[in-house]
């Protein structure tokens, strides 16, 4: 396969990690909550999925069922993290930034504790073949486009549709823009905020699961997961709070991120040891550039939800 096409497909596949993470974060933010705990949530999603696979990886269950149970494990664990976050920030009205940071510390730590107890040969080796449908067994990067990749694309598109074309989405956006007004027209603000944070976390958790089990499929993958949570949060701005835009954004991120390893394969280019760290800096510099660019353009429809980061207390006017 053409080396550039190979590179592009690999970027797409790698990008699915961010696609899950930032789609989840967008849904949370649309409810007015900036969840800086997404890195921790993604970590715990990965841990939850691996925990389930560790239990059933060697059993005689049909492959499809193992896939589904693994996904459910990841979503459940991530939603539990979302529940902690929404209980603290919605019910107890805690500061969102601090709660998020604590959630990341907790999640990333607990994931490492859990993963150190699991057996990689059970949760990785057996189930791996089931995720790589329909391109299993190929040697080029098409092999990475499996079930979980397509699921990421579907979730991103469906989320966009729900947020911008349905009544539920309209209500959620109203809650995020101005919870007082939403409350006045009879929308249950608390319920929407809880649902947005928990569903968003559930989706983000799949990103961690995908990264460990499918894309990297290595026993050390979990150690490098946290960074991608932070990048997912940054990607939200690039996507201008539209989930389907994360498909493009995450591919660009994936492209920049794997630049340092792919460029060396191209004829006529030699990458020195010193150049590698500089290439790895690219996605972050790019994010900063995007941040600056969007803030200078300052268009109204490209702004974050108006009440993002603020707690809502009905009795307070």
């Amino acid at each position: 396969m053409n080396i550039w096409l190979n590179f592009l497909i690999d970027s797409l596949a790698f990008g699915a990690t961010f696609m899950y993470g930032s789609t989840g974060e967008i849904i949370t933010e649309k409810g007015g909550h900036l969840n800086l705990g997404i890195p921790g949530v993604m970590c715990m999603g990965g841990a939850g999925g691996c925990l389930v696979l560790n239990m059933i990886g060697k059993s005689n269950l049909p492959g499809a069922l193992i896939v589904i149970l693994g996904i459910l494990g990841a979503v459940t664990m991530a939603m539990l993290m979302g529940l902690i976050y929404s209980f603290l920030t919605v019910t107890l009205r805690a500061n969102q930034n601090v709660t998020g940071l604590a959630l990341t510390t907790f999640g990333a730590g607990l994931m490492k504790v859990i993963m150190s107890k699991l057996d990689a040969t059970v949760y990785l080796v057996g189930p791996k073949q089931f995720y790589r449908w329909p391109f299993a067994g190929r040697t080029d990067s098409l092999q990475y486009l499996g079930v979980l990749f397509f699921l990421a694309v579907i979730i991103a598109v469906v989320s966009s549709w729900v947020l911008y074309k349905t009544k539920v989405g309209l209500h959620l956006r109203a809650v995020g823009e101005n919870p007082g007004t939403a409350d006045a027209v009879g929308i249950n603000v608390t319920r929407y905020k809880y649902a947005a944070s928990c569903i968003g976390s559930g989706i983000a958790g799949l990103g961690g699961f995908y990264y460990i089990i499918d894309y990297m499929a290595s026993p050390e993958a979990y150690l490098s997961l946290e960074v991608f949570g932070w990048l997912s949060i940054a990607l939200v701005i690039f996507a201008l709070w539209r989930p389907h835009m994360t498909i493009i954004g995450s591919t660009v991120f994936g492209f920049l991120f794997s630049c340092s390893s792919h460029i060396a394969n191209i004829d006529g280019i030699t990458v020195t040891m010193a150049a590698k760290p500089l290439l790895k800096m690219l996605p972050y510099v790019f994010t900063i550039a995007v941040l600056i660019f969007t803030s200078i353009r300052n268009k109204r429809e490209n702004q974050p939800p108006a009440s993002l980061g603020l707690s809502y207390f009905r009795e307070e006017r």
């Binding site: 009205r93 930034n97 607990l110 949060i233 790895k280």
Partner: protein, 373 residues
């Protein structure tokens, strides 16, 4: 049908914001929260430690570890004080920015650049100039590097209102790769680990860590005075309270934002200097080790008050070191301290609600009549 008319749905309780709370009640709530958190920590440890489950260790040993880990021996006590001092220094550094509601998540990178500045000077000039001059130049370099790293996001925030949380966050990673670039350049062998440098060590008296601890203590008092009694400190509080009020009263908000972030960056640079010149005499990409993020929580828990911060940074260091001891004694992963700190933070964060709000139980029929009146 007529009977249904009088049935009013009343929630069993409602919430009201407290006007004020007696100080001891607030602290009682916080202590209760930490105690509850410790109970949950015990449960979590039970899940993950084989030694706890098969009876080789007891829960008593578990809680004793927190004391043992930090105060067990004289060496551990000094280590505890050193860790606390470094954490306190970074927490102090981010405080001016946070009082202004500038969400500076970049302390990690700003401090790392401070370490880099100090070590770069020591690497290139070490042994070529007298030691006092070297230490001074390292100091200046560390402060400048920290300040540069924080003033870049501040300028964009002031000029175009660029989101500072994400900007500063990304700067952390840029800093990490700047350091790893220079490690490759400095250590051509490919191992990328710079050994301890021979020059550029802060003089020590009494104990190796004593000077650093004293510097941080002095800084705590100075920052308290700066924030509480100086005109600049007042301006920071006003901008944090309301940007509009600040503008109407004639303050140049942009100037305050940039100036405060320079102060924040300088202090991060100082923390980096203490790490680089005072402790490590070397640098890795993990020299700051996540303390830039922990500092945000330490500073917030202390309500951005430098004096109270001594207490919160002490608590977090105690938990960290105690949990590190636990992961050793109880055979759980080295990431266990993060779990413990996370759980305790959840409980303290949650307890703030019971300090700020009052839960009022509804007496039957009472609230309805009140509303009519």
């Amino acid at each position: 049908m007529a009977e249904h008319k009088n049935i009013v749905h009343e929630p069993p309780f409602h919430l009201a914001k407290r006007a004020s709370i007696v100080w001891w009640k607030a602290w009682l709530i916080r202590i209760a929260a930490v105690a509850l958190g410790l109970v949950v920590c015990g449960l979590v440890a039970y899940l993950f430690s084989d030694r706890l489950r098969n009876g080789k260790k007891t829960l008593e040993d578990f809680y004793y570890c927190f004391i043992k880990g930090s105060f067990g021996t004289e060496r551990k006590l000094w280590k505890f004080l050193k860790n606390m001092a470094v954490l306190q220094c970074i927490s102090l550094a981010i405080t001016p920015a946070f009082r202004m509601r500038f969400w500076n998540t970049g302390a990690e990178g700003q401090t790392l650049m401070g370490v880099w500045g100090a070590i770069a000077v020591a690497f290139y000039l070490g042994g070529k100039i007298p030691n006092w001059l070297l230490l001074t130049l390292m100091f200046v370099a560390a402060l400048i590097c920290g300040a540069v790293w924080s003033v870049i996001p501040a300028i964009f925030k002031a000029k175009w209102d660029t989101n500072e949380t994400l900007f500063t966050l990304m700067m952390n990673y840029v800093a990490t790769y700047v350091v790893s670039y220079f490690l490759v350049v400095w250590v051509p062998s490919g191992s990328s680990s710079l050994g301890k440098l021979k020059f550029g060590k802060l003089p020590s008296f009494g104990h190796d860590y004593l000077l650093i601890i004293l510097i941080v203590l002095a800084l705590t008092v100075l920052l308290y005075i700066y924030l509480r009694y100086s005109k600049q400190g007042y301006e920071i509080s006003v901008v944090g309270e309301s940007v509009r009020t600040a503008q109407y009263s004639g303050m140049n908000v942009k100037k305050v934002v940039i100036r405060t972030m320079i102060v924040s960056g300088l202090l991060c640079g100082l923390a980096g200097y203490l790490i680089g010149a005072g402790l490590d005499q070397s640098i890795t990409t993990e020299s700051v080790g996540g303390q830039g993020f922990t500092a945000i929580m330490v500073s917030w828990l202390a309500k951005f008050n430098p004096l109270v911060m001594l207490l919160t940074s002490g608590l977090v260091s105690l938990l960290n070191q105690g949990a590190a001891q636990i992961s050793q004694d109880f055979n759980v992963s080295g990431a266990f301290p993060d779990v413990i700190v996370g759980i305790i933070l959840f409980f303290i964060i949650g307890s703030e609600f019971f300090i700020n709000y009052q839960i009022i139980l509804t007496r039957k029929g009472h609230a309805g009549r009140e509303a009519v009146k």
